[in-house]
């Protein structure tokens, strides 16, 4: 019996192959986009975990000095008091335009790291003497090895795949040379085994702070915001995909009503039917899910390298560009496909189970009454209000996303009501009978299309919002680069001595030589880079201050005040007038806050003499050079020749800007890719909705045709209707997108990156998007319209037939 029923039910799909394909595409798109995002997130997180394991991060308690590096003397004092600690010196190093992290550990005392063990067990292990004494050895991931080997002046490189990319592991004695931080220790890890009777830390090294392993800021926390961002996009895509599934399943059920009624009349119980149909859906969901996983895997593979670049660039988080297939990802993807399909079909299933044996007419439109629209409008309004309340009352990224989520969902729910309102206004103003009919007909059709239109609204709003955010960011960033990179040339000498020579050599030849000197301090919010500046008009004219007190530059240059970057200001809520503790004993009032994009850490600026007081011995290797722009190229070459500097040590402003922008653009490749995909899916949702409504269209069109409209006219009107609805939706999406952009710029960005950006409007982009939307709606309606155009009159006449 089941076989017969299944055969009957499946025969439908054989006759409606397009519908089957649509359904599978819907499930596959929903699953695919979601799974792609999940795969990217999982891969990134796995990379952090791998890196943590490889570097034994977060395994041990650590000792840190908030005022700066720890001296070797301090380390020996601790050791001689019995404290079993191991020294680590880390810092960034530039290699051929890339920043790599150098981690120098005391190879003698540090617990064996997987990479070291791997090297020791290799075919040609290095002599311990080679590892520990000059020039030493560097250990790096295989992809980094050739880059390092091409560099002059670096120790020999050993390859180990037990290291994250962009990291050099070496002995601390090698690292202090490499990083030019002789005698400095960044942190001490506390080894697990300690002898009896160790004195209290406060008695022997009160300036050191014990950081528990569990309290250490780990990369995954830092990047949570980014992943949440991607997840939100994934969910949005998933929701949009489900609209398609909902539409197709609804249509399939409507078309199979007669068959189901017959089956019931033949003695099949409703219970059995519901079960069989549910299983049928589950099987389809799994097929679509598998397609979606393939799609997702491919998509993730394409997007991951950019995500990896973003995460490395923004957070210094180590992420491989390689994707690996994980079983839990497959299971989760299939579960989402299954759950999503059943959720999207729930409505249809319930209607099926409630269908009376002898019901009336075969096909009915989803006749959503005005009442339904109004109540969904109320719920929507409530959601918007709730989202706003959450956004303004609670802090944090999750609250930010909750606000955006509430506003978006709410707006989607309000959409049918607003559209209906707009249509009735148009209807009341319209003159001709056809126009009047069109508006009335659109209103009547709204309930059937509203889900697809909601999908379109969400996709458009996301597009406008994210697009505005990215473009605003880019515009701000470009402006900021212009302000920040004012020197025509930037030079980095190999050491302090050469630095002095460079400065002296340059002075008579150029307008100004501005030293760039900094030290890394430790603030309660994380690392803090302190910069010293000399008095020069360049800073007064160009430095990108967001807010400042009167006479800001005079105060700072007199050593009486400090400038801090926006990240630090927002993280520790310090603003002009407040005091900031740079190191114990050095507390300065804040005179101004400057914007500082593309940098996750806190920064502060003081006068040069103040810098030397707070942290003596900062390097004097880097300089900004003011020179007539047309002489910059010539001077750069002269500098390289004079001091034998490698190419990358003398950089021109233009090159630096171009490089910064390239990094920036790469950061948002993923975002815009997901954006476009979501819009495409929404277009597809409109198509499926129109196809669904198609069978219900004839009884409405036939009388109009009979009264004297040609099929071509009717087909054109079909196209017009779709385009008009899309246009109305797009019009409503614009303010929603603005709100979203505002939320992203003013709330989410502040939480995720630590900076607030001004919002710029891009009407040209909107116009482009608007046209794209109309095009999508036109394409989506083209198929139904073409069908109508080619419809034999006999099919229309059937509507009037007496014997039905």
């Amino acid at each position: 019996m089941n076989r017969a029923i299944i055969q009957a039910l499946l025969s439908h799909w054989l006759r409606h192959r397009l519908q089957l394909v649509t359904l599978l595409i819907g499930i596959a798109l929903a699953t695919g986009l979601w799974s792609a995002v999940q795969a990217i997130n999982a891969e990134a997180r796995a990379s952090y975990q791998r890196a943590s394991d490889q570097l034994a991060l977060g395994l041990f308690d650590e000792l840190r000095d908030s005022s700066g590096p720890i001296s070797i003397e301090r380390y020996v004092v601790l050791r001689r008091a019995g404290w079993q600690v191991a020294a680590v010196l880390d810092g960034p190093m530039r290699v051929v335009g890339n920043t790599v992290q150098v981690m120098g550990v005391d190879m003698v005392a540090y617990p064996p790291l997987p990479a070291v063990t791997q090297i020791e067990q290799s075919e040609t292990p290095p002599d311990p003497a080679a590892m520990l004494t000059a020039p030493g050895r560097l250990i790096a991931a295989p992809e980094l090895v050739p880059i390092l080997q091409g560099q002059d002046g670096l120790p020999p490189v050993l390859s180990s795949n037990a290291l994250p990319p962009d990291l050099i592991l070496t002995d601390i004695g090698v690292a202090e040379t490499l990083l030019d931080k002789p005698g400095q220790i960044s942190r001490l890890i506390v080894l697990p085994t300690q002898p009896r009777g160790v004195p209290l830390l406060s008695d022997i090294a009160p300036e050191l702070e014990l950081v528990k392993a569990t309290d250490q800021l780990d990369t995954s926390q830092l990047t949570d915001s980014f992943h949440l961002n991607l997840t939100a996009f994934g969910l949005l895509s998933f929701a949009v995909g489900l609209f398609i599934v909902h539409g197709t399943v609804g249509l399939a059920f409507a078309q199979r009503r007669a068959m189901i009624r017959t089956l019931r009349a033949l003695g099949v119980s409703m219970r059995r039917l519901v079960w069989i149909v549910t299983i049928e859906l589950a099987v389809l969901a799994l097929i679509g899910g598998v397609l979606g996983l393939v799609l997702g895997f491919l998509l993730a593979g394409v997007l991951l390298p950019d995500v990896a670049a973003t995460l490395r660039g923004l957070y210094g988080a180590p992420v491989d560009g390689q994707l690996s297939l994980q079983p839990q990802w497959i299971l989760a993807g299939l579960a989402m496909a299954l759950g999503g399909t059943l959720l999207a079909s729930g409505h249809a299933l319930v209607r099926l189970s409630r269908m009376p044996l002898l019901s009336g007419a075969g096909l009915q439109a989803w006749r959503g009454s005005g009442k339904g629209q109004r109540s969904s409008g109320f719920v929507g309004t409530a959601l918007i209000a709730g989202g706003l309340v959450i956004g303004f009352v609670f802090e944090g990224l999750v609250a930010g996303f909750a606000m955006v989520g509430g506003i978006l969902t709410g707006a989607a729910l309000v959409l049918p009501y607003l559209l209906s309102l707009a249509l009735s206004v148009f209807q009341s103003r319209s003159q001709g009978p056809v126009a009047q009919w069109i508006w009335a007909d659109m209103r009547a059709q709204l309930p059937g299309l509203s889900l697809a239109l909601m999908a379109l609204l969400l996709a458009l709003a996301a597009n406008i919002g994210v697009g505005t955010m990215v473009s605003s960011f880019r515009l701000t960033f470009v402006g900021w680069l212009d302000q920040r990179l004012t020197s025509e040339l930037y030079v980095t000498a190999t050491d302090n001595q050469q630095g002095l020579q460079v400065a002296q050599w340059l002075k008579p030849q150029v307008d100004a030589v501005l030293p760039i000197r900094s030290v890394e301090l430790s603030h309660e919010t994380g690392p803090l880079f302190l910069y010293g500046i000399v008095d020069h008009q360049t800073y007064r004219d160009h430095w990108p201050l967001i807010t400042s007190s009167n006479g800001v530059w005079d105060q700072v240059l007199a050593g009486e005040a400090v400038l801090i970057n926006e990240q630090l200001a927002r993280r520790s809520t310090l603003w002009p007038g407040d005091n900031v503790t740079l190191s114990p004993g050095h507390i300065l009032p804040i005179a101004g806050v400057y914007s500082d994009y593309g940098n996750p850490t806190g920064q502060a600026i003081v006068s040069m003499s103040q810098l030397d007081q707070i942290a003596p011995g900062a390097d004097t290797r880097r300089f900004g050079i003011r020179i007539a722009p047309e002489r910059a190229t010539e001077m750069a070459q002269a500098l390289r020749d004079q001091f034998g500097l490698p190419r990358q040590s003398v950089v021109q402003q233009a090159a630096m800007k171009a490089q910064s922008l390239a990094i920036f653009d790469k950061t948002f490749v993923v975002t815009s890719a997901l954006n476009v995909l979501t819009l495409g899916v929404a277009g597809f949702a409109i198509l499926t909705s129109l196809l669904t409504l198609w069978t219900q269209r004839l009884p409405q069109i036939a009388p109009v045709w009979a009264l004297g409209l040609t099929r071509a006219q009717l087909a054109r009107l079909e196209l017009l209707r779709s385009v008009l609805l899309a246009a109305l939706t797009a019009t409503l999406a614009l303010p929603l997108g603005m709100v979203l952009a505002w939320a992203l710029l003013a709330v989410i960005n502040v939480q995720a990156f630590g900076w607030r950006l001004p919002m710029f409007l891009f009407p040209a982009d909107w116009a482009y998007l608007f046209l794209l939307t109309l095009l999508a709606a036109f394409v989506a309606a083209a198929l139904p319209a073409l069908r109508l155009l080619r419809l034999p009159p006999a099919d229309l006449l059937r509507v009037f037939a007496n014997e039905r």
């Binding site: 070797i72 020996v76 050791r79 001689r80 019995g82 067990q121 520990l132 004494t133 202090e176 009896r196």
Partner: protein
């Protein structure tokens, strides 16, 4: 004492596959390193300090102690120096590595700890005057080696002892030039075997006041092992009549190489050539997965010595980076007394 140290330190950073090569290196020429020469004139306090131009060196102290509870205890305090290059530099890039071993042996249990450091930064080292040998919080210090304070600690134990020499420094071999193989490999080797010791052991069950006798070995060299030598058994014994004996056997493929020094209570040292002493294992104990001979018969016909030497605590295993057995022993037979036994290569 001991050839062992050289292996210990040098092999710390080497993987197991390379240990064979490590042995071979020790047997090979000591490139750039100084070589012990016969007829060397020791000069103190200079020679109490380190000799970075030699590859290996150690300050090795053991003591047999009796607690106020009348039980036998033993302690070990060792600082090894191993040079990756025959130079010393300031900072992390110093090629001098230092390794500390400390242990307390009770009749039932053997507690030990290990420390590793490099030179150049002050975490470990030795100064000749005033004398101090240290690594981390462990130290052996005094105005000179005749009066020392000794401290060490591990997770389960700590000790603080004072040592006073009751006799002179003793030179082994030919006035401190100690030959280690038939091929002529040799080291500089002197001892201070006359310490009286008193102090406190801190153990998991509480503090124990102890008194007893201590023995310090000083040795440095650059290539002390012959190619075929695979391990050694080393004895430092103090007899109840006041005489003392240092004797060792290097086990090699071409046969054993032995050496010994007989020390009278006034400090007169008589070196005894290869073959003078015989060492016969009588009984083994299963320790750390190996059969270790913890019961010996040692004879020295020249001195009418025929004794059985047995471990007080058979499980005195040093499970450090380089593993070996080191613990207090009891002597019975023609002479009675106590001492320390060290065995490697099992």
């Amino acid at each position: 004492m001991n050839v062992k140290a050289c292996l210990c330190v040098l092999l710390i950073l080497l993987p197991p596959a390379l240990r064979a090569q490590g042995y071979a290196d020790l047997g090979g020429p000591a490139e750039g390193y100084a070589i012990p020469q016969s007829g060397y004139q020791f000069e103190f306090p200079r020679d109490h300090g380190p000799h970075p131009e030699f590859r290996i060196e150690w300050w090795y102290l053991t003591a047999n102690l009796t607690g106020e509870d009348r039980r036998d205890y033993g302690i070990q305090w060792t600082l090894f120096r191993s040079a990756l290059k025959p130079t010393e530099t300031e900072g992390w890039q110093s090629p001098q590595l230092w390794l500390g071993h400390a242990a307390v042996t009770t009749p039932e249990t053997h507690y030990f700890a290990e420390r590793l450091s490099r030179g150049g930064i002050g975490q470990a080292g030795v100064s000749a005057e005033p004398f101090e040998a240290w690594i981390d919080e462990w130290s052996m210090r005094g105005p000179d080696p005749s009066a020392l304070t000794l401290t060490a600690s591990g997770p389960e134990f700590a000790y603080n002892l004072s040592l006073n020499a009751q006799g002179p420094i003793v030179f082994h071999g030919d006035a401190g030039y100690s030959v280690k193989s038939a091929d002529g490999q040799a080291s500089y080797y002197y001892s201070q075997p006359f310490y009286t010791v008193e102090g406190v052991l801190q153990l998991p069950d509480g503090d124990v006041k102890v008194t007893g006798q201590g023995w310090l070995d000083r040795e440095w060299s650059s290539q002390p092992l012959a190619e075929d030598q695979s391990g050694w058994d080393w004895f430092s014994l103090s007899f109840d009549d006041g005489d003392k004996l240092m004797a060792f056997r290097l086990r090699g493929g071409r046969g054993d190489f032995t050496a010994a020094t007989w020390i009278t209570p006034d400090g007169t040292a008589s070196p005894l050539p290869d073959g003078s002493a015989t060492f016969i294992p009588l009984d083994t104990e299963r320790v750390a997965g190996r059969d270790v001979p913890v019961h010996w018969r040692v004879t020295l016909p020249d001195r009418d010595l025929d004794v059985e030497v047995s471990a007080i605590t058979p499980n005195a295993w040093m499970a450090t980076r380089f593993e070996y057995w080191e613990g207090p022993v009891k002597v019975t037979g023609s002479h009675t007394g106590r001492g320390y036994l060290e065995m490697t290569g099992y």
